[in-house]
Amino acid sequence: MIAVVDYGMGNLHSVAKALEHVAAGQTVSVTSDPAVIAQAQRVVFPGQGAAPDCMRAIDAHGLREAIQAAAETKPFLGICMGLQVLFAHSAEGNTACLGLFAGDVQHFGTELHDGAGERLKVPHMGWNNVRQTAAHALWDGIPDGERFYFVHSYFVVPEDRSIVAGETDYPTPFTCAVARDNRFAVQFHPEKSAAAGLRLLQNFVTWQP
């Protein structure tokens, strides 16, 4: 069984539908029950919205320990806010996060411009290229530089560069994927990234870290 952690932040139906599409024969359970998360073989940790709200919702649902335990012990995929709150601290609302990775989460700023001088909007919204900076089972079958769908205004800055698995430019490079042991987490939305995203999810549901 694959658990999709539901703490009331954002659209989990897309994640569940995409997992059901690629995980033939496996049950996908959208759950806020720590016991179900503890029983799951794999855990997907999505999330949208603002960091302070996410952290409050995690604690309000009593999920902090279950998420930490899953991230320590079984194949674990963080998506979007589910990447950001794995870090120690977010500049969004000056929020203490889960601290499973050292580093913090920063805002893009409001005065970004591309090479032609055209303003780059925030949120960073749409399809951008992902450079695979480290080989990983979750990149299997996905061309380096493939586009994935993003929507976010903050990005993670890991202290330990060895966990960086992917980078994207907006306009300067930022970390869009991290990996260590049984953990993989991405800033983009694989569930909304067409064939490449489905391939990443398919890689996750068969991954043996």
Partner: protein, 256 residues
């Protein structure tokens, strides 16, 4: 390399079918929403937008079933609009599988709904749709918000309104020129440029696309982050892929 400009086919839906008319008149049947959504996905559409143009509240649930069916088969972002009045309408659409919800008239009559919905569900899923008509020409042009399919003026300045919607938490602006809607003469590029330069959130240009060069103009001249079109794709005149090839030829970053 870099963030791609998006092409978003738009489907007007009523009674379970995709339809197309000019300013809500002379509706033509364009087919089954799930089938059309799949076709656009295969052609490389970056997102899909559905507008529920059902006039009465009788058949509101129908759109939820359509979105549920599309979201089970098409794995790109889906935006749904039409008849969204309160945050619970947003919740129902998100639960059915929408990724973003577009708020139009309700925002004009009650701007607080934008703030409430953004606070509750996050700015990333709140699109504010602005229907504007030009009311002042010359060196300092102005555009005004119109409701009811472009029939009722509101006295609200479109550029100022876009800024206000951003401040209330909108994550994106869907900007339609009611002057150009259905006219096939291209986007209102001055309007698009004025709004895009006035806000820091992405702007989707809409209304008036008649050929593929118009889409590229919306990005290069209008400063749009995404372009939305309906009829040029529905009746097989052009594919999304052809549109992207034209944009790429003109030096625009696209996902091919």
């Amino acid at each position: 390399m870099g963030l791609a400009k998006r092409i978003i086919p738009c489907m007007d839906v009523t009674a379970g079918r995709v339809v197309k008319g000019v300013q809500f008149l002379n509706l033509r049947d364009a087919g089954d929403p799930v089938e059309i959504a799949r076709r656009y996905d295969e052609q490389g559409a970056d997102e899909l937008t559905f507008l529920d143009i059902t006039a009465t509240s009788d058949n509101r649930d129908l759109i939820l079933h359509i979105i549920d069916a599309v979201a089970s088969q098409v794995f790109i972002p889906l935006t749904v609009g039409g008849g969204v009045r309160v945050p619970d309408d947003v919740r129902r659409l998100l639960n059915a599988g929408a990724d973003k919800v577009s708020i139009n008239t309700a925002a004009v009559f009650n701007p607080q709904v934008v703030k409430d919905a953004a606070d509750r569900f996050g700015s990333q899923c709140i699109v504010v749709a602005i229907d504007a008509k030009q009311t002042v020409w010359g060196a300092a042009p102005k555009w005004e918000i119109f409701t009811h399919g472009g029939r009722k003026p509101t006295g609200i300045d479109a550029v100022e309104w876009a800024q206000k919607m951003q401040a209330l938490g909108a994550g994106e602006i869907l900007l339609t020129s009611m002057d150009r809607d259905g006219a096939k003469s291209g986007f209102d590029l001055n309007l698009t440029r004025a709004v895009s330069d006035a806000v820091n959130i992405p702007v989707i240009a809409s209304g008036g696309v008649g050929n593929l060069q118009h889409l590229a103009d919306g990005v290069q001249k209008g400063g749009a982050d995404a372009v939305l079109a309906a009829s040029i794709f529905h009746f097989g005149e052009y594919t999304v892929r052809q549109a992207k090839e034209i944009m790429q030829d003109r030096g625009i970053e696209v996902r091919l």
